[in-house]
């Protein structure tokens, strides 16, 4: 019922005795959630690796259709967004309220750019008929079976894209709270946790990019 | 005692390998009985001997005992490792087939078993093998995963589409042994049975030479009755009017049936023959188009026999 009489006690939930305990619990929870995300994507990575080893020629031929320049730009964009996210957390921890908002906004913009570039890439694929599974209709393949690569391309970048969208929604919510002045050195857990999530989403892309675009 | 346990729990031992499996099985029965009686016995005894006498009962503070705990960790560990090796050793016996085994091709599809012998003879739902000779089955499926299981041989292997799996055995008991599909595959799964005929080598070779025509000297409708049971028709078509996956044969001959496209057709020789070879051509109304084709799986005389059989169903 009553909260502990600590500074900024308004964010301390009733079942925790100290803010530190609450923050620690939150961190544990988020790390565990990230582990589940790694395992979720892990299944797709394993499936890709196995199908690639069974159909090596087709996968090599197919991956030439991907635009490495755009992929590289997207990688830089996401790395930048991770940087701005780190800065947002740091700003929250050092009571620089305005900067938190700015950095979170920059992170959102980077995410938007990422999705925009993905849209361009997807458009190209649709135009060429490079679609997953039964919808693959690309003409003039010398090596058959390339549809399987695109099955994985769309599933993996698609699932990743869904996570970017989800992350953007959560960042927007945290942004709103930051603008309201909720965060300070005593309480900045939501910024911290969304930062962790965002780094993982970035990290997954760091694995996806070479796997899909680069490796023979 | 062992023989009695075996007779209750296990099918006939159709191969020498079956006896090896039963040997391990029996050992595991004894191990299980021992440990179960130990658990149940101690529990039962303690519940009575140490029943609560009253609120002033005092119990000793026994928190652990290293020696006892080590014993009941290490002894079971040794036991299970022993069981692992026994199971593994016996398993390797059927996992690797002998080089001189007679090879028979098996193709499974919903819901029949097809066999092809080295001389090109093909049979459906009946596998003929020589007694006392190793036989290797090379198996694949045309649709979903099926399972090849012969209880009396104690062998089993999944039959997978687009790949070949193998199994071998050496039958030591002449007669008929049961084959059952053991990987769920849809409506006809429990009807996907076949017979394995184990004959001495001479009879087997004779059978093989005739092209596997078992019903050679039978009148047609009797032959048809045999085929109805052995070729899988029975799985979906009843003779007593009960609706199955396919229409019952009772009383259909000589009458028209309504088809799924609204048209009507007379049940005569041509219709029955077409339904066997091109089952999707005419589907009786309210039934699904799931009958597999028997094209290439029945000889002419066999088709004639089945026609006669359907004709005889009043």
């Amino acid at each position: 019922m009553s909260t502990a009489a600590t500074p900024h006690g308004e964010f301390l939930q009733h079942h925790f005795t100290t803010a530190e305990q609450q923050a620690d619990a939150g961190k544990i929870g988020m790390w565990l959630f990230l582990v589940t995300e790694v395992l979720l994507f892990g299944g797709l990575f394993v499936g890709f690796a196995i199908m690639q080893s069974l159909h090596r020629e087709a996968f090599v031929a197919a991956h030439h259709q991907l635009d490495r320049v755009l992929g590289f730009i997207n990688t830089v964009v996401l790395l930048t967004s991770s940087y701005t996210m780190v800065m947002a957390v740091h700003s929250a921890r050092t009571d620089r309220r305005k900067r938190v908002v700015v950095y979170l906004l920059l992170t959102l913009i980077c995410a938007g750019v990422f999705l925009g570039i993905k849209y361009v890439e997807y458009s190209h694929k649709f135009h060429e008929g490079l679609l997953p599974g039964r919808y693959y209709s690309h003409k003039g393949d010398t090596v058959p079976g390339q549809f399987m690569f695109f099955s994985f391309y769309f599933m993996m970048t698609g699932l990743h894209g869904v996570h970017i969208l989800g992350g953007m929604a959560v960042i927007a919510w945290v942004l709103r709270r930051a603008a309201r002045g909720d965060f300070s050195h005593a309480y900045y857990t939501p910024v911290d946790l969304v930062g962790l999530y965002w780094h993982l989403v970035d990290l997954i892309w760091i694995y996806l990019f070479p796997l899909l675009y680069l490796i023979k | 005692m062992n023989a009695w346990i075996r007779s209750v729990l296990m099918p006939v031992q159709g191969t020498a390998y079956a006896a090896r499996v039963d040997h391990l099985y029996l050992f595991l029965i004894y191990v299980s009985a021992f440990f179960f009686l130990l658990v149940a016995g101690l529990t039962g005894y303690f519940v009575i001997r140490y029943r609560r006498r009253g609120p002033s009962d005092r119990t000793p503070n026994l928190t652990h005992h290293q020696g006892l705990e080590a014993a009941w960790t290490l002894i079971p560990l040794a036991l299970v490792i022993f069981i692992f090796f026994w199971g593994f050793h016996s398993y390797m016996d059927i996992a690797v087939s002998p080089a001189d085994a007679l090879e028979i091709q098996v193709t499974a599809k919903k819901w029949v078993w097809q066999f092809e012998y080295p001389n090109g003879v093909r049979t459906v739902n009946e596998l003929h093998v020589p007694l006392g000779k190793p036989v290797k089955l090379v198996m694949t499926s045309e649709d979903v995963i099926h399972g090849f299981f012969v209880p009396s041989f104690r062998i089993k292997q999944d039959v997978v589409p687009n790949t070949y799996t193998q199994l071998w055995f050496e039958a030591t008991v002449p007669g008929v042994h049961q084959l059952e599909c053991t990987q769920y595959c849809g409506q006809g799964h429990s009807g996907m049975l076949a017979n394995i005929y184990v004959d001495d080598e001479k009879k087997y070779n004779e059978w093989l030479a005739t092209g596997g025509d078992a019903g050679k000297n039978m009148p047609l409708s009797q032959f048809g009755a045999m085929l109805y049971a052995s070729r899988g028709c029975r799985t979906c078509h009843s003779l007593d009017g009960t609706r199955g996956q396919g229409p019952s044969f009772k009383g259909i001959w000589g009458h028209p049936v309504k088809l799924s496209d609204g048209k009507s057709v007379m049940v005569d020789e041509n219709y029955v023959r077409e339904s066997i070879l091109l089952p999707q051509a005419k589907i009786v109304a309210s039934f699904e188009p799931i009958m597999p084709t028997f094209q290439g799986m029945l000889r002419e005389r066999e088709i004639q026999a089945l026609v006669e059989f359907v004709k005889a169903q009043k």
Binding site: H15, A25, I28, G29, L32, V35, T36, L39, G42, G43, G47, I50, M51, G133, M148, F152, L159 | P11, V21, L24, Y25, V31, S32, F36, V39, F46, V47, R51, R52, P55, T59, P60, N61, L62, T63, H65, E69, W72, T73, V80, I83, F88, Y91, I94, A95, D143, I145, G147, F149, I155, K156, D158, V160, P161, N162, Y184, G186, H189, L193, G244
Partner: protein, 534 residues
């Protein structure tokens, strides 16, 4: 008398938006019991159909859907959430001396996600259902008709509920133990829930992605499992069992955790081998990830893989055996009293022993080849899941019932019910071991005549079993209509949950407890309230 968590706050809305772990635990309890009823009805229908070969009360197609739904409902809607989400939610914070779980709002979200998953499952059931078996093997599941996409999506959603519960419990155990309660002063129920939560977090995402891949196959023909497109149907089995084997330990570990509470209490003696039991729970969680291939010995897997999986499977049996010996040693020179929770705990010991021992037959390669996909396997898993987990669940339910509802139930009818359930269960499932070893495959709609007598025997057993549960439903319902007069500690148990009234107040403890002694310290036991009055 001040209010308790049931009476305050009042009103339907206060329940719907509650973040109180006790209320959430109750909501889960009623949900999983309802799922058990539904799954149980399907089971009775299966057994009636199997009274004779051929058509009895349903067609083969319907039968295939009924057994699939029986499995899917029992596994995903009942047994996986059962103990952790209902009893675990209610008891864990109390036991740790905490006011709630680490993330109460996530807890509520977990429950609503469960409900959403259940609704998707019901939608699948009424729009054509599923006939693939709960294991969804490809290519059958990617090509058959029916609401496979809806059902797999339902299970996908339910997976999130399980993951969030696991995350919540791990954080709770790490951060919310009362002052003075180090890890080795924690009750063993908490250790069991912790080990379960580890598996929930690590394994469930894999079934998540596997189910998504089935949906992708059905909608887009992505090809990964389709042999005609160059995919590998066996790969599906690897993905599926990588989760589903650890999942069976999600099912049994909480049950074992309950037994570790009940036996010391009703023997009025400290638990024997506390550390061994704690470590064995973690060991089981770890090794459980290494044995999935034992479901695939005849799938076409290599002999080497078979050998490795068989060996590891035998290793995972040892920690379970250690626990059983520890529980029996706890009873040695105890002061044993046979109320309902203890009757169910003893049922657990006997039936889990049989279930576990029959696992030896299945772990050994040569015997498994014969027994795989037969009724022997069906009997084995019912012995561990029902003879094991469900008995433990019933033990815990009767043990913590007075704490949850503030009322006792009729001990006499509880004993009648326990006896019927024990007898009915054994008649139903012991016969199935014999059916299996004699060669009766599972998932068979019809069967060879020689198997009929055993099937009839098994079906009659299922009626006795059903009657036992029916009686239980009646006396438990009746107990809720009694006055709320249960004492705080009717069993004279140690454990912080018994230091607060029955039922507890909204915030669990009037004063935050602190812990000075180890758990299961029965050296100077609290007398039960009955004994105090005598």
């Amino acid at each position: 008398m001040t209010g308790n968590y049931l009476s305050s706050p009042r009103g339907l809305k206060s329940w719907l938006i509650t973040v109180d772990h006790k209320r959430i635990g109750l909501m889960y309890l009623f949900s999983v019991l309802f799922a058990f009823l539904l799954g149980g009805i399907f089971a009775m229908l299966i057994r009636i159909e199997l009274l004779k070969p051929g058509h009895n009360i349903m067609s083969a197609d319907t039968y295939n859907r009924v057994f699939t739904l029986h499995g899917a409902i029992m596994i995903f809607l009942f047994i996986i959430p059962s103990i952790p989400a209902s009893l675990g939610n209610f008891v864990l914070p109390l036991m740790l001396g905490a006011k709630d779980v680490a993330f109460p709002r996530l807890n509520l979200a977990s429950y609503y996600i469960y409900v959403a998953g259940a609704l998707f499952a019901i939608a699948a059931m009424v729009t054509g259902a599923v006939d693939t078996g709960w294991t969804f093997y490809t290519p059958y599941s990617t090509t058959t008709n029916g609401s496979v996409g809806l059902m797999t999506f339902a299970v996908f959603v339910l997976g999130f509920s399980s993951i969030f519960t696991g995350i919540n419990f791990i954080a709770t155990i790490h951060k919310l133990r009362a002052p003075g309660m180090g890890w080795f002063r924690m009750p063993l129920f908490a250790w069991g829930i912790y080990a379960t939560a580890i598996i929930q977090v690590l394994a469930t995402p894999v079934i998540g992605i596997t189910l998504l891949l089935i949906i992708m196959e059905r909608v887009f023909s992505v090809g990964i499992f389709n042999p005609q497109l160059g995919g590998d149907p066996i790969l599906f089995q690897h993905f599926f069992w990588f989760y589903s084997h650890p999942a069976v330990y999600i099912m049994i570990l909480p049950g074992m955790a309950i037994i570790s509470e009940v036996i010391p209490c009703f023997s009025r003696k400290t638990i024997f081998g506390y550390k061994a039991i704690a470590y064995s729970s973690i060991a089981i969680a770890g090794v459980s990830f290494l044995v999935w291939g034992h479901h695939m010995f005849v799938s076409g897997q290599s002999q080497l893989a078979n050998a490795i999986f068989s060996f590891l499977t035998f290793l995972v049996a040892i920690p379970s055996g250690v626990k059983v010996f520890n529980w029996i040693a706890t009873m040695y020179r105890g002061s044993i009293s046979l109320e309902a929770p203890m009757l169910y705990a003893i049922s657990f010991l006997l039936l889990f022993a049989i279930g576990g021992l029959t696992g030896l037959f299945l772990g050994a390669l040569a015997t498994d080849v014969h027994l795989h996909d037969t009724y022997f396997v069906v009997a084995h898993f019912h012995f561990v899941m029902m003879g094991g987990t469900v008995m433990a669940f019933l033990s815990g339910l009767h043990y913590w019932w007075p704490k949850m509802f503030g009322r006792m139930y009729s001990e006499k009818w509880a004993r009648v019910s326990a006896a019927l359930i024990f007898v009915g269960f054994n008649v139903t499932f012991l016969s199935q071991f014999v059916l299996g070893s004699r060669g009766m495959p599972r998932r068979y709609y019809s069967y060879l005549d020689q198997f009929q007598p055993l099937h009839v025997f098994s079906t009659v057993g299922s009626w006795v079993l059903g009657l036992g549960f029916l009686i239980m439903a009646v006396y438990l319902w009746a107990s809720l209509r009694r006055p709320m007069d249960a004492p705080a500690n009717p069993w004279g148990a140690t454990g912080l949950e018994w230091q607060t009234p029955s039922p507890p107040p909204e915030h669990n403890f009037e004063n935050a407890p602190s812990v000075t002694r180890g758990p299961y310290d029965y050296s100077s036991p609290e007398p039960t309230s009955a004994e105090v009055e005598a």
